[in-house]
Amino acid sequence: MKLDEATGTLHLLEKGPKSKDKARIDVWFWSDLTGFSWYDNHGQVGGQGTRVDATTAAKTTASAPLPTKLPPLPLPTGPVDEHAYRILQADAVSITVSFSKTGRGGAEHATYYINDATVVTIDGHPTHSRELKGGMVAHLAVAPDQRTVTRIEARDAPRIPEKGHRG
């Protein structure tokens, strides 16, 4: 296994099967270290794992909730155009949104994890997070770990005519 120290992502490669059949799994641990989200890049499935405390006698220094640098995302409550956030980037396992109204705010953005339990819709139609595109606006609901989104309700950004455009 290979741990990306900067992101906390653990890369697992299955032992045994031929190279083309090996499961290649990325694991992201929750900030409270009680579980993790995983994604199999080979089988293209994901899910969540849990910590099993009773099985080991060793103590950990991480049993208490620990802070994370990802800021909590205020849950939207109003019409989509007033409280939606602009998507900067999205893929099968993560989404980055801007908190600024222009979508260009340097530090005013955050990245959240997506897993197979995340419900994704575009214009009300269920879809996959891979269909999300930068520039869309979306409502997000965030899990208690403040790192994983449970629901993404996206729609295309409103079209704004260019300056000087006529017609």
């Binding site: 296994m1 290979k2 741990l3 990306d4 120290e5 900067a6 992101t7 906390g8 992502t9 653990l10 697992l12 490669l13 299955e14 032992k15 499961a23 799994i25 992201w28 641990f29 929750w30 900030s31 409270d32 270290l33 993790f36 995983w38 199999d40 899910g47 969540q48 794992g49 849990t50 910590r51 099993v52 405390d53 009773a54 099985t55 080991t56 060793a58 103590k59 950990t60 220094t61 991480a62 620990l66 802070p67 994370t68 640098k69 990802l70 993560s94 990245t111 790192r147």
Partner: protein
């Protein structure tokens, strides 16, 4: 264990200790699985399942 660096989120404090000090459960191996400091993940039967 190999360590790489890139830019995304941040590793939760205490992750390394928690990784090697607890058992974990997920669908690919019989729980509890153990992440060993040498980079091998063992299942409940003591079989190395991931590296």
């Amino acid at each position: 264990m190999c360590v790489a660096r890139s830019g995304f989120a941040e590793m939760p404090p205490g992750l390394m200790d928690a990784l090697t000090s607890h058992g974990w459960a997920f669908p690919y191996a019989k729980a509890p699985v153990l992440f060993r400091p040498d980079g091998i993940m063992m299942d409940a039967d003591g079989t190395a399942r991931f590296e």
